[in-house]
């Protein structure tokens, strides 16, 4: 609700040294926490228990199906070569599933390149990395080729998987959210990290967790 969240926004404007903190505690004993969106220096927090979400986020906040400790819904999507890839393919090893807004945009490029540059560390932890956006296979192919991305990119063209998993949107629903899930080798979610405007942080946070799994 705009009237509920405005005071929070104003407050953060006055705190120039406020640095966004990780919205998720990496302690596995915390059962679940709804994802919070972070806009550099501004925190738009969504919590179903305390505030009435705006209409654009009702679908995602209240009905977020994937939470820490649960097994997310299965999917089969086309990769950058047009081949079908199912989530079940990755069972038996940890997998980092990262949802991002779009190929060839500054934030997503930074994020993809950061995953690429740390890919060896992910492999060392035995994990796979999968990126998902609404772009089609040919867009993913060009994007992966241009930046030499060694991991799989999947096309969620109707944003069905994004909706099924409950990835929240940003900026009052205008922007697809940037949210990363770390699944353990049993397919259970161990971390959900959301940060739209600091994409490289997704790599640090997921690696931190993977190294503890």
């Amino acid at each position: 609700m705009a009237s509920v969240s405005l005071p929070k926004l104003t407050l953060h404007f006055l705190l120039p040294t406020h640095s966004p903190k990780t919205p998720f505690c990496l302690n596995n004993s915390i059962l679940h926490k709804l994802p919070e969106s972070q806009f550099r220096g501004l925190k738009l927090s969504r919590s179903s228990s305390t505030s009435i979400p705006s209409s654009s986020s009702v679908k995602t906040s209240i009905f977020a199906k994937v939470t820490q400790g649960t097994v997310p819904p299965a999917f089969t999507l086309k990769d950058q070569d047009g081949k079908n890839v199912s989530l079940s393919k990755f069972k038996g090893k940890p997998v980092v599933v990262y949802f991002y807004p779009a190929d060839e945009t500054p934030g997503c490029t930074k994020q993809a390149c950061a995953f690429r540059d740390s890919y060896e560390k992910f492999k060392k932890a035995g994990a796979e990395v999968v990126g998902i956006s609404g772009d089609d296979s040919s867009s993913h192919k060009a994007f992966a080729k241009k930046y030499k991305l060694p991991f799989t990119l999947l096309s969620d063209e109707s944003n069905k998987v994004r909706k099924d998993w409950g990835v929240p949107s940003d900026l009052f629903g205008t922007l697809p959210g940037r949210q990363t899930y770390v699944l353990d080798k049993n397919g259970k979610v161990q971390l959900i990290y959301n940060n739209q405007f600091q994409p490289e942080k997704h790599i640090d946070e997921t690696l931190k967790l993977l190294q503890s799994l």
């Binding site: 807004p101 900026l171 405007f197």
Partner: protein, 208 residues
Amino acid sequence: MGAAESHIWLEPILAGLVGYVLADLGSGVYHWGIDNYGSAETPVFGPQIEAFQGHHKWPWTITRRQFANNLHALARTVTFFVLPIDLACHDSVLLGFVGVCSGCIMFSQQFHAWAHGTKSKLPPIVVALQDAGILVSRPQHAAHHRQPYNNNYCIVSGVWNEFLDTQNVFGALEMILLFKLGVRPRSWDEPNSDWTEETETSSQVALP
């Protein structure tokens, strides 16, 4: 002046200050829009878009424009909007706001030109105002003319630049426009030769 009388001046002056601050923000948003979207063929804005791109290619030429040249186009637009307000409104606070805001907008191209000047050639008062942060400074605006050409868009005082850039406000707006209208800003892609600054000093340039 008694306390009651000085109060009459305070509100319009404060309104003027608000106008000065908002003019800087307005200059940034407008500049960002023109730098990133549209082309020479865009209706209404086409010639300006072309002029801005020409400016990026030959930034130093702006220092060779005459004072009147820097003012006349903006003055036309300001007259169009402000004259009716001046005739219709008599509220001193509103007029204070409109007067200073539109005045700063009218002078913004001249402030911009001064930001391209060299210290030794600028009037000392201009240098002093730039150093005090009242007018956009030369180093701050120079950053706008360097890769990746996506920051320091404000050209009145530049007071909004740090906030807009550190909070990535334009980046967020660019993403919204991509998803809502399908348009990509020019600053996302490698500048082509039409955009990159020409560094040969011998190039013949016709001043716009």
